[in-house]
Symmetry: D2
Subunit: 342 residues, 4 copies
């Protein structure tokens, strides 16, 4: 197989950083373009200093004529709103994985309400497939365009999908989710200022986080979800990781063992989901594409915990997982990233 | 007023450390005894090096004959089970503030189930008053013996008390609580080993944390609490702080403003509860006796966030607050500890 | 004694934050003005949320007519270059403590080289006294204008002053200094972006840090300092604290005990210097005005370690210490801030 | 080439953890044995949870009869003193890489003084080659037994070797070194207790760290080193990483460019040494086998900074690098571990 010619748009952020880390070592990938307007002309390794001695590429400006770009797949790792402009310009035939929220929401009015952006590429929306590999594998295989899930959405849907799919609950869920600071991106901001963040923990965007609609939309393709879904985001004083604590109520009493069996069945063929005892820990998934999940039941009360690396399974790793599927490459190729202890 | 003669039992742990910090600067306090068996004879400042230049006391061994100890008030900052042995030996007339869980649970069988200890001082249980100042002020004023609340219980009850008291919800709550590492005490252990803790976040003791019964017991004195109370504990990679995210459902739709008014009314005379916008942050309460609370509503869904310093409002600060009340001293005396930014 | 009328210029930064924390509890202080142009009109506690329930002041804009400001003492906690403009406008009679570097360097050309600023208030330079209390107490008592030392300079000079003063070394020193992230101020920047800072350690400004000339200038008032002074700054992934490791060579062999005696003698009357065994630790001095120092000798080799809180002894605490001296108030008033364990 | 049969003694610590991470992905390696007495019989992934889904091995007890163990190479990742007992029992022909300090010091009396252990395998000492690849490559290629350098020693020698080798200095050095908490190993202890370590920085073992003699011994094979070598160790509040700040004095003035050229020449063929601008940062080398170095000169004063991951280049990575050389495998095989940003 020839190597896939890959273009990365938005290579200087953390999503781009992790795409580079993964694709530079991917046996079927050849990075032909990595853009970063503000760093155009500079070596990639001048920004991502971890790649010194690993990567000889330079950042390019965004090409003027996207339509003539001869790539097999383009990754958009750009701020929300940019992919809406770029996707329609791409040559037909090139596949796209968009890591932003631009094409995740089918209902245009919902998108515009949560993202405060006009959806200017409505005609492409129906071609985008939601790229949560574990619940959407066949559709992804057949897709050309992927809307890569949000980091919170990934942790949450992977935790809830077996519950929603099994129909054992009343469809009402509370999700208390926490993220590391890299989820805010590579640009310094007040909420990621080290002196304050390092000893902090707080909630933000109560009831209005933009990942709510994609979680609701996708879970409803799997089963019953009540309208009063509660999803709350918090900020952790770590660099990487998302942890979702999910609470549900079973219609009938269920044991922890029965609950675990439902998850084992659901994730039988999911190489990146690990069912663990007690609790997952972001420490064990950081820098990897794994999602660790633990389940607990007591009477009719259910608790499910999931942990991912927000930049890998929650972004770049999942993006490459989707690329693999779209091109018929074995799903784990380039993604058996091994975590560290400690 | 003469200074109160104070004995601190268990002065080498973090609870003892914070009792010392607060009481050394308290205008009505004189520490006459601070025990630490393993450090007996050593200067307090050899262990609590922050107190060098501040404190000239030495640690004592636990006295053989408690009954002849002439103190006005004893603080027990000891592992669970110790106060059960010491309290019955104390001279009548000396007041007691017990920071452990030994006397928090009225139902002996529930205590023994959660603490795996025999309750050997059952005859004293009814004399112990639950020391959550903001909800129990009058009883505390009249008390001789105080069961000082657990750190998680403090953050949770302060967040939920106005809801439970108002009767506006269906009585069903989910509490997702997180604690800093100092909650595990001053002794090194696997879960507080820095290389792993510093990049970690995980859940522990699902459904079985020993603070559940004291939360349930006390909230039920204030109003309706459903039997399916969900309380979950997690570990944060910070030294100090507890953050509780509490989810409830209103019987009728309620606005954020109405909800806030309920809290303002409930905490009108509570100098250590601050209602804040958006979210509290453990960064703003660390080293202080404040509990910061924010409330949000959307339709019938309610979210309440609370943040405290687990060692101050969640332990030593609240213990001194109770001492002040028992002795008719102004509640805030010695407790206007000012936090820092950053 | 009437309370001193105090004006704080630049109240929204970390220096201002700590001045507020200390002066709000100072028995001889009354804050009459606290400026912050970008936050003018807002409550102080909206920015320094730690002060909610403590401070009812609002931020003011900088007054148009400084000359008519009736204050006893003004603290300038502003970016470098601002005090140069404000100091000459102040009414004579008001005392000044400048926390910036504007008036620390007597040699105008050296100042301009290191600060890249024109020294526009040269006529006032000779009235400014270098405010390192422990080495300059008498001059400070007699002063009207204080140039408050830099944070690195404070830790370094306190570590080296007894050596330089005693003449036991050859005058050649290597200082390896490390600072927490709050030293970079309250404004977010690339070097304080949490995702990267939290797992980082690096050196910066090799050989050219702007604190070098004030260290050299002041140490030379105490004794012999060689021209090849080596001073290197590094960034620690903590919020607060400076640690200086200082290396010297004795002319003759010296024991650790002899060395310690030199330090004990030098700091006999210094209530904020604590000589400790082994090593100081920033953990034990954070939020306090203490400087902890340990000394070691082996043959002719000498190592001295010092630790301070950069925002307290390295800035606001020392500023208030100087205020106390200038007004004949006991030096420790308002400054017996007790640290915490942990 | 057949895969090398590999035995890891001491697989449950952090050195063992990293050996597993690297060797599980090494194309020429097959792990036939991994011992951990206290965890014998348990899955490796029950302890190193990062390896769940990656590693199916179980921990074994240490074999009774080492002499019949048919392995190509044994890694000893054991506490100091254990390799002294095991190495003499190994079958001749099996190669050994010892990650402890047992065979690093040629002078038995020096070893015994610094390690407080009797050197009971003196007859093997001369067969052990010091495994700092970049300065000892040819000897390592010819070796059967490798004494893998200490983590501090690796960072220090790599920083100083070009200086010592070039003869441009007076041979007198001050090294101020800092380590992350994982350097203390996987067992909880007072100095790695999270509540205190997370906001701390302190020095330890002044003048007497056990890495001093191996640094002196090895540097003296490269050139002139004065007797008054100063080496000081400090503890950083991060999990991984060593940073060494090294100070020297040139005999004649030297420019930064000239100095850099000396380092470029020295490390021409060293794939894991990267010369960087400004300063290295442990953030850029964590989880990798790289050593990043920056050099600065001003007049005759020289500063060299180096950064490594203490568990990789400072332990397991370097151990595998030595294995590669001993078996004629390309030096970088299995070691092109890519770091992350952030």
């Amino acid at each position: 197989m020839n190597r896939l010619r890959i273009a990365i748009f938005g290579g200087s952020g953390y999503g781009g950083s992790e795409l580079l880390r993964i694709l530079l070592a991917h046996p079927n990938a050849e990075i032909m373009l990595v853009t970063a307007n503000e760093h155009a002309g500079k070596p990639v390794a001048a920004i991502h200093k971890n790649l010194a001695g690993i990567c000889d590429l330079d950042f390019s400006p965004a090409p003027d004529d996207l339509g003539s770009l001869e790539c097999d797949v383009a990754f958009f790792a750009l701020p929300h709103g940019q992919a809406l402009k770029l996707a329609p310009q791409m040559k037909r035939g090139a596949k796209i994985v968009d890591l932003s929220g631009d094409f995740r929401i089918d209902d245009k009015s919902v998108f515009e309400k949560f993202y405060k952006l006009e959806h200017t590429a409505d005609e492409l929306q129906s071609e985008f497939v939601y790229g949560l590999t574990e619940t959407n594998r066949d559709a992804i295989r057949a897709a050309n365009y992927i809307a890569n899930p949000g980091c919170f959405a990934t942790a949450t849907i992977l935790a809830l999908a077996p519950l929603v799919g099994s129909g054992i609950t009343n469809g009402r869920f509370v999700v208390d989710a926490k993220t590391g600071s890299s989820g805010s991106g590579a640009k310094p901001a007040a909420n990621t200022h080290h002196p304050q963040r390092t000893n902090s923990f707080y909630a933000y965007k109560p009831f209005i986080h933009q990942h709510v609609p994609e979680i609701e939309q996708h879970l409803r393709t799997l089963g019953n979800l009540s309208d009063d879904f509660v999803f709350m985001t918090h900020s952790l004083p770590v660099s990487r990781g998302i942890f979702a604590s999910c609470y549900a109520e079973a219609i009938d009493e269920i044991s922890g063992e029965e609950l675990r069996r439902i998850y084992e069945d659901f994730y039988t063929n999911a190489p990146f989901v690990r069912l663990v005892e007690g609790s997952p820990d972001i420490n064990w998934v950081k820098t990897t594409n794994f999602c660790d999940i633990a389940v607990h039941a007591r009477g009719r009360r259910i608790a499910v915990f999931s942990a991912i690396d927000n930049l890998v399974k929650g972004a770049a790793g999942q993006a490459v997982q989707n690329m693999n599927l779209m091109f018929g490459i074995e799903e784990t190729t380039g993604l058996r990233l091994i975590g560290t202890n400690p």
